[in-house]
Amino acid sequence: MELGRLEYLQALVTEFQVTDSTGNKRRCSLALCVSSVSSHTRPFSLAEAKEQVLANLANFAYDPSNYEYLRQLQVLDLFLDMLTEDNETLVEFAMGGLCNLCLDKTNKEYILEANGVEPIINCLSSSNEETVVSAVTTLMFLTTTQSRAQTTALPVVECMLRFSLSANARLSNLASIFLQDYCSPPQVEEARNLSKHTAVGIPLPKD
């Protein structure tokens, strides 16, 4: 490996603003992104740097041996916060990161504690395929006896019903599994009736 390249390295510490549960903004420094100032590299924006860092973290999140470290770095909070970003790519990567690490019991509890289910449900309406697919899987993984009231709420089940009819095989597969393995038949029935009774084109009677 050409170590000589490293003499051009300039450490770029990317700071993410994180709002904690008490509403205070605190800085979360992630010293993971390193940039080169050699002429070969075109200058890139902070947004791109953030995307790279987030992608790396999301990939780290695939490996359980990193979970303790990621928790220490408060990356779970970071992922949850990125879900409400305007940048679609950041949302996609953050959702992927959550999908990767949410099966671990400690992480799962942390995400549920932090009211993570709500922003994840919102991701179901994203136009980004990966985001949606990650969100469906994450909801499945996050379902426990306590959380299922939230993760399999009626609007979610209804959404999954629609997804299960999608031409997108990945999405329909996952939605089918959600309906079959995580919802009870009455739940599915209720959602089905809801969509049937949605009067399309018929105005509601005025009282």
Binding site: S29, S36, F44, A55, T144, I177
Partner: protein, 357 residues
């Protein structure tokens, strides 16, 4: 409003098949010689199915499949005539028996020259059946549970897996299918929470414990290389394994235990410094000869990428780097210990012979 779908069933070009534009802004020391796109891999993206584009239309399907079979047993393969392909190239679908074999095969064969043409290999999860996707997610669940010593699972109803899940030696043994007695036949939700050692553990067959431990690292790249190597022993020619069995190789499992803690995957997947250097040196001669080099590499043992020992001029970066380096060293040392044993015993034998003379 939901525009996440793509028209057409499996076989239609999907967005995740497209090669993303290479990332030009990545730091030079992380780049290697091959530009890599920024991408996040989740269990949804990965698949036993691989899509191979750019195969030259020279009637080389047999050679192609033989090449991929080196990484593990292949269940199915066929050309995809409907898939759009560049002129003079064909597209193939290859289905591996195991996900980790597909992972290694993709890593090694992507962007490889094959009969003069550059292959593009990607996962094709859209070819999975619902059951295959379900099993994929279940496997991921089991892996995490073992890797983190947890037994927390949500069971809504008894999940019907394929019949082979009931056999002791099967890797697909589903924890909740064996705890049938505690899962009601109706959809009564039951959730096993709490630390290991509580009642639900007894439902988990104890005979499985060793098996589980040994198979848990299979998501690790170096383990996958070993299993891929043994996979080659059992199927040199592409053959269909209906139902699929685990290769017997207890030897394989022994070798997997010391080497695999999943540690070397701490490195982001977009950084494989040593791996790329090696590939660069192999160059074009890969297409017909390179496989033996791969075999040699695997026989010696899992080669973890060498980390350049550099002061990155930043305390926290250096801390991370040192942490990674130490763990890798730890793992590498434990591997070399297990390999050295047979050598030392033969050396002893040699000494005895000399005394007689």
């Amino acid at each position: 409003k939901m525009a996440a779908g793509s028209s057409g069933g499996p076989g239609a070009p999907c967005r995740h098949h497209a090669q993303l534009g290479a990332c030009e802004s990545r730091a030079k020391y992380r780049e290697g010689w091959r530009p890599r796109a920024v991408k996040v891999y989740t269990i949804n993206l990965e698949s036993r199915y691989l899509l191979i584009q750019g195969v030259p239309a020279l009637g080389v399907m047999k050679e192609l499949v033989e090449q991929f079979a080196l990484y593990g047993a292949i269940e199915e393969y066929h050309a995809l005539d409907e898939y759009p392909a560049e002129q003079f190239t064909e597209v193939y679908l290859i289905k591996f028996q195991k996900l980790q074999c597909a992972r290694v095969a993709k890593k090694k064969m992507d962007e490889r020259s094959f009969f003069g043409s550059l292959l593009h290999v990607c996962y094709a999860p859209e070819f999975e059946t619902v059951q295959e996707t379900r099993e994929k997610l279940q496997d991921r669940r089991k892996y995490i549970a073992k890797a983190t010593n947890q037994r927390d699972c949500f069971v809504l109803k008894k999940v019907e897996g394929p019949k082979k899940t009931l056999s002791k030696n099967s890797e697909h043994d589903c924890p909740w299918s064996t705890s049938g007695s505690s899962v009601a036949s109706s959809w009564d939700p039951s959730c096993f929470t709490g630390s290991p050692g509580v009642s639900h553990n007894s439902a988990y067959p104890s005979g499985n414990q060793n098996q589980s431990l040994l198979t848990s690292p299979r998501y690790d790249n170096s383990c996958a290389e070993i299993s891929g190597y043994f996979g080659q022993n059992t199927s040199l020619t592409p053959s269909v394994h209906p139902g699929g069995h685990t290769p017997p190789a207890s030897l394989m499992q022994q070798r997997m235990v010391p080497a695999c803690n999943g540690i070397d995957r701490f490195m982001p997947r977009t950084t494989h410094l040593q791996e790329r250097k090696r590939k660069r040196e192999e160059g074009n001669k890969f297409s017909l000869i390179g496989t033996s080099e791969d075999n040699t590499e695997v026989v010696i043992g899992p080669q973890l990428p060498e980390i350049p020992k550099v002061d990155m001029d930043d305390e926290s970066l250096n801390t991370s780097a040192t942490l990674i380096r130490n763990k890798l060293k730890e793992v590498a040392d434990s591997v070399s210990t297990s390999v050295e044993k047979p050598e030392s015993s033969s050396a002893k034998r040699l000494v005895k012979q000399r005394r007689r003379i």
